[in-house]
């Protein structure tokens, strides 16, 4: 087990270095740097002036020198100065990540129990009417990306009925303005997790030990709750963890759509305004989140399922 975890962490570190190298390379391409020089200095800079500005800021040094300087600082927590927000990047990131954290908490709080419940109910009796209805419902929910459901919900619940607000503010988190973004994000992921849970549940329900329990004379409800659930929830666990990278795209879409100034919104601002330091820090955080969840999912799966041989 320890070797397994160490190997996973090794791969994770290699992935992290490779990804940050790519991001660093893409962000500091000559075109981006030229634009940066012009927004920082003056729009009508001559090529020579751009060149001297880049020289002064240290962008003309060898690529690997710049990269190692950046990664050295980042690991120590100094991510530089955000040119758009006029604040240290770490401050911006910390603040915005907190807002997104609140949003994600509610999304998870709605999505995970909902999806597990739907999946277990559908997989309990495969092929029943309830199963068919719930399955079609989950397929429909995975077919509607955030930018579709977001718009449909806004039109119905905000524009037409006026129940909720179509804008979510980071300052006041109320039921009224948080329902739509949370619902939009939760629904897209819910169908997928529900389908995984259903498949896993249906498989468990056909296994020998469930039949034995039934033949012993236990009630259907007891068998489902006490015997089937535990084994059926192993697969959805990994799926839920692997949802995080996917949720990141969702976060960006939903935050843009509902004007919620969180992490995703910051990504768009950083990319749109060519804020190199901020963009690098965002990629760094995003990559760490993705890799950590993958690691947790791997370890958790091995831990939960003793049949998985860790070798």
């Amino acid at each position: 087990m320890l070797m397994f975890i160490l190997r996973r962490i090794g791969t994770m570190l290699a992935t992290m270095v490779a990804l940050t190298l790519i991001v660093f390379y893409l962000v500091t391409l000559p075109g981006n740097l030229e634009k940066l020089a012009k927004t920082e200095g003056e729009m009508r800079m001559t090529d020579a002036e751009v060149e001297s500005w880049l020289e002064k800021e240290g962008f003309n040094r060898p690529f690997l020198v710049q990269y190692s300087e950046w990664i050295g600082n980042t690991v120590r927590g100094d991510m530089g100065w955000s040119r758009v927000f006029r604040k240290p990047v770490s401050e911006v990131i910390g603040e915005r990540l907190g807002y997104t954290g609140i949003l994600m908490f509610w999304v998870m709080a709605v999505m995970v129990p909902g999806a597990l419940l739907i999946g277990v109910l559908a997989g309990m009796k495969e092929g029943s009417g309830l199963d068919r209805t719930l399955t079609v419902g989950s397929v429909a929910s995975t077919s509607a990306p955030e930018y579709v459901t977001g718009i449909v919900f806004t039109v119905i619940f905000a524009s037409a009925l006026g129940w909720f607000k179509g804008v979510a503010s980071t300052r006041s988190i109320t039921f009224e303005n948080f329902t739509l973004p949370v619902m939009t994000m939760a629904i897209y992921g819910m169908g997928y997790i529900a389908r995984m849970t259903r498949a896993s549940m249906a498989e468990v329900m056909t296994s020998q030990y469930i039949r034995t329990a039934r033949l012993k004379g236990l009630g259907f409800r007891t068998v489902v709750v006490k015997h089937a659930l535990r084994n059926a929830l192993i697969a959805p666990f990994t799926v839920i963890m692997l949802q995080f990278p996917w949720l990141l795209t969702g976060v960006v879409i939903v935050e843009t759509m509902f004007n919620y100034k969180g992490f995703g919104f910051t990504l768009i601002e950083a990319a749109g305004n060519n804020d190199i330091n901020l963009l690098l820090a965002i990629s760094w955080v995003a990559v760490i989140v993705v890799l950590l969840t993958q690691l947790i999912s791997d370890i958790g799966y091995a831990y939960l399922n003793p049949r998985i041989r860790v070798s």
Binding site: T11, V27, L29, K35, N274, V290
Partner: protein, 400 residues
């Protein structure tokens, strides 16, 4: 003075306008029903209600895309200059020429209905084509990874996981910004080619279909020299011709070409979806490799690539077809995401993602919500169709 028609009439006229689609669907579905015994997996779809619903939705959009010019009443960029047609609510009649804006007009007085119909042609070309190329890339790399395992697998799985760990949206932002993908001419001595990172990526990905087909012919007709050279010649001639036109916009005949914007999103979408294909092909290969007929082929002394392409791949087709349907839907969503952030095609393009992005700022008022609501529903119905079709196919393929 603005004249509108009622909701009932909007529905009836919308249905009526799609008449070429309905006829084509009726013909296809009934022809399919007659020969369903010979269609294998697809024929058995007729027994599944979910699968049929999916197939009907997909066929609806496929035929709408084919007959787009007959169905749409206006061009994708055509504006009406009659008073009151800007942001016109659904069902408004253009008083000058009597054209009804069934699904309303956008803020530039273009017909939303016609734009969605024209947009279907764009979406239904790019999404399946990009998925197909992603499949060729994923199969060409996934087969050896699953077959040989060892270091090939380690390296390629690492690369695939690298791309999968990259948040898609960030990747798109980094790749599709104008600063990154402005083509720079590169002089190779005999020819000058445009070069940028997306072009480089496309140059890498688009070689795979040629490689894949050549490998297939090469392994199958190794003994039959005349056939082999014929097939190879055709593949290489057509492939390289398309390649030069699509990737470098340097088609010697000047027929095939792609705008730089289109190439960028093509490359980005292929990059985003080929690791997934790689993983599923690799997994299936590892599974099928242990079957008896593979062992038989190995004993016969067949080459590894023959076994991979002609023994393993055909036997993996069931799950792969299902995954292909799902993945086209996923690619459609990705394309929409790109459009939503304004990173896709030209902003005025009628593809659904761009339309949603365009109408997004008007969504908070019920009177103007139709501008993004209708393309959103169109996108969802296509993806839903593909997902239901995949579900039906999966159910049918599990039966045997």
């Amino acid at each position: 003075m603005v004249e509108t028609i009622g909701t009932g009439e909007i529905v009836i006229q919308s249905i009526a306008r799609f008449w070429p689609t309905w006829i084509a669907m009726a013909v296809t579905l009934s022809a399919g029903y007659l020969v369903r015994e010979r269609l294998g997996m697809f024929g058995r779809l007729y027994g599944s209600r979910i699968g049929m619903a999916g197939l009907a939705l997909v066929l609806f959009w496929v035929f709408t895309a084919i007959f787009a010019d007959q169905i749409a009443v206006m061009g994708p960029l055509e504006q009406s200059f009659t008073f009151g047609m800007k942001k016109a609510p659904p069902g408004t009649v253009d008083l000058k020429n009597g054209v009804v804006f069934l699904w309303g007009g956008d803020n530039l007085a273009r017909d939303v209905f016609s734009r969605i119909v024209h947009g279907s042609a764009i979406v239904l070309v790019i999404a399946p084509a990009a998925t197909l190329i992603a499949y060729m890339v994923g199969s060409t790399l996934g087969l050896p990874a699953g077959y040989y395992i060892g270091w090939i697998d380690t390296v390629m799985s690492f690369l695939a996981n690298l791309v999968l760990a990259f948040p898609v949206i960030l990747l798109f932002y980094l790749l599709v910004t104008p600063e990154v993908n402005r083509p720079v001419p590169v002089d190779l001595g005999f020819v000058t080619l445009p070069w940028s990172i997306p072009i480089g990526m496309a140059a890498f990905f688009f070689i795979f279909p040629i490689l894949f087909l050549s490998l297939m012919w090469f392994t199958k007709y190794e003994k039959d020299r005349t056939r082999l050279s014929l097939y190879l010649a055709v593949t290489l001639a057509v492939g390289l011709w398309l390649y030069s036109g699509l990737v470098f916009n340097a088609d010697p005949l000047g027929v095939v070409g792609m705008a730089p914007n289109e190439l960028n999103i093509f490359a980005a979408v292929i990059l985003g979806s080929s690791p997934g294909v790689f993983r599923i092909v690799r997994g299936l290969t590892m599974d099928i490799k242990t079957r008896d007929y593979v062992a038989a082929a190995q004993t016969r002394g067949e080459r590894p690539w023959y076994i991979m392409l002609w023994e393993i791949l055909p036997n993996a087709r069931g799950p792969l077809i299902v995954d292909f349907c799902l993945r086209i839907g996923y690619t459609t969503i990705l394309l929409g995401t790109l459009g939503f952030f304004g990173l896709g095609l030209q902003p005025e393009s009628p593809d659904w993602g761009s339309m949603i992005n365009h109408g997004r700022s008007f969504v908070r008022l019920a009177e103007t919500a139709h501008m993004s609501l209708f393309p959103a529903i169109a996108l969802m119905s296509l993806v839903l169709g593909l997902n239901l079709l995949a579900d039906g196919l999966r159910e049918e393929s599990l039966k045997d």
